[in-house]
Amino acid sequence: MVSAPDGGGVGAPPSTSSIAVRLDGVTRRFGRGDRTLTALDDVSLAVRRGDVFGVIGHSGAGKSTLIRMVNALETPTEGSVHVDGVDLASLSTSELRAARKHTAMIFQQFQLLETVTVLDNVAMPLRLDGIRTREARARATEALEFVGLGTRLSAYPGQLSGGQKQRVGIARAIVRNPAVLLCDEATSALDPSTTLQIIELLKRVNREYGTTILVVTHEMDVIKDLCHSVAVMEGGRIVEQGAVMDVFVHPQTPVAQAFVGSVIPHELPARVRAAVGGQPLWRLRFLDEEVTTPIVGALISEFRLGVNILHADMTDIQDRTVGHMIVQVDGDDAQRAAAFAYLSERIVSVEEVVL
């Protein structure tokens, strides 16, 4: 799907008009002299219009700095940031303020005004634009109804739960109908079931308003449930980037494998690993209807192999199913080779591994 502008040089680069957010060789250094910290190191990415793009990394990987580039709360030391084809560095202060009205942001700690009602919190962006109270409140009411808080208009944020506060945050973000919604660890302060509700809401925003969403998170579940595309960050660099499904099925880097492993366990338990240590095992990956194909039965009955399943699981990733299995296969070498070829044709991947 989305590739880095310099990613491999395969195919023509996407036309500018279809790209909502583009970072080209963005580097950000803090401090000076020998106490310099490089938060972002030559980061390039392109978020297509209407995409839900996730950036995942551990804390300190630079993802907060990255998302702040898009609304110019941070500015690059080197490189450029384009939003809707406009280079942010070319804008004057007032043009930048105007541009920020198209890139709304929601925060881990919500950042609502405690002294103002829910309704007036959501009306705030419109009031900043000089829209009269009555109209601003009418539009804020619509946004709050969209997020399911139409009955809590006159409540104060202090009276709401974390999930409700984030709904207010989302209502405030969408009230100006922004082109891009930036989510900075928006679910990290919430419990798992509330996280799912917020993810569903963000998907609805993307679907019904066509809003491009850029998410940074350290939770792979958020990437799995919400995003279409993902970039994996480590030490200020993007180490892996692609469609969420591709990264889940073929994680290339150790950090990506670890993140995928946090959702789909892909390591054997220590005692099992000790028992089969050093023997070649097969790692099978299935996609969608492949999970219902009787592969193991075929290995046993057609190829006369002994199959010992050491690990197997299935996970739904958005509207697709990913299966993962580690098996020990005994039999003569010719039959094993034939079976390996047979699998390669029928499932998304099979590889021989020594765990």
């Binding site: 009205k101 942001m105 925060f107 405690e114 962006p125 900043l128 930036l182």
Partner: protein, 219 residues
């Protein structure tokens, strides 16, 4: 019959003088102080409009005035007082040093209140494209208003404290009554009445301030 020099006319006149000084000095001191506090927050490093020179000058001014005991400030600024209100004595003569004393005090308290507002609120405001003025009027000041009221309460009580010394320049007031009658003329009743009056005024100010702050905080 209890023996005292205190008459109700004398008491009411002194009370009126105290409240007058308190009210006027608080009014001008608050305006100057809030502006001063905002200016310090705006120009500090990492503020909305950072400016090292202005920041240094404002902080220097606040620190210098705050380091002077009020009685010293009162006499040190006599020429300036004469310039502003045309006299350096009486109630009006006390107003200038009182205002000058309380403004930096309020400025410092306002600064603290504004800095208490989470950094993230300012970031959220910026992300919405708020102008620097809007960041103050629509985000920082409303969020800080509870603690601003408490700050003003503290400043008002400090100001009341200072009005007691205004008798030095003939401004009268409850404090002067306590010194010139209660202390210098050994009038125990006057002393008692003035002390009780001061305690009651302070209690009322604090009660009002705490209540209002709680109402404004909405937490």
């Amino acid at each position: 019959m209890i023996d005292t020099l205190l008459t109700s006319e004398l008491f009411l006149e002194a009370l009126g003088e105290t409240l007058y000084m308190l009210g006027i000095a608080l009014f001008f001191g608050s305006i100057l102080g809030v502006l001063l506090g905002i200016a310090v927050v705006v120009t500090r490093p990492g503020g909305v409009l950072p400016n090292a020179v202005v920041s240094f000058v404002l902080n220097g001014f606040i620190n210098v005035v705050r380091s002077l005991p009020f009685i010293i400030l009162l006499v040190a600024v006599l020429p300036f007082t004469r310039l502003v209100v045309g006299t350096s004595i009486g109630v009006n003569g006390a107003l200038v040093p009182l205002t000058l004393m309380v403004a930096p005090y309020i400025g410092r308290l306002v600064e603290n209140s504004l800095l208490e507002v989470p950094e993230g609120i300012v970031e959220a405001a910026k992300s919405m494209g708020a102008t620097p003025v809007q960041i103050f009027t629509r985000f920082l000041l409303p969020e800080a208003r509870g603690s601003l009221v408490l700050a003003l309460t503290t400043a008002t009580i400090g100001l009341l404290d200072a009005t007691a010394m205004a008798g030095t320049v003939g401004a009268g007031g409850i404090g002067d009554l306590a010194i010139s009658y209660g202390y210098q003329r050994f009038d125990g009743i006057t002393m008692l009445v003035t002390v009780v009056t001061l305690v009651v005024i302070v209690q009322l100010i604090q009660l009002f301030g705490t209540r209002l702050a709680r109402k404004l905080r909405r937490r």
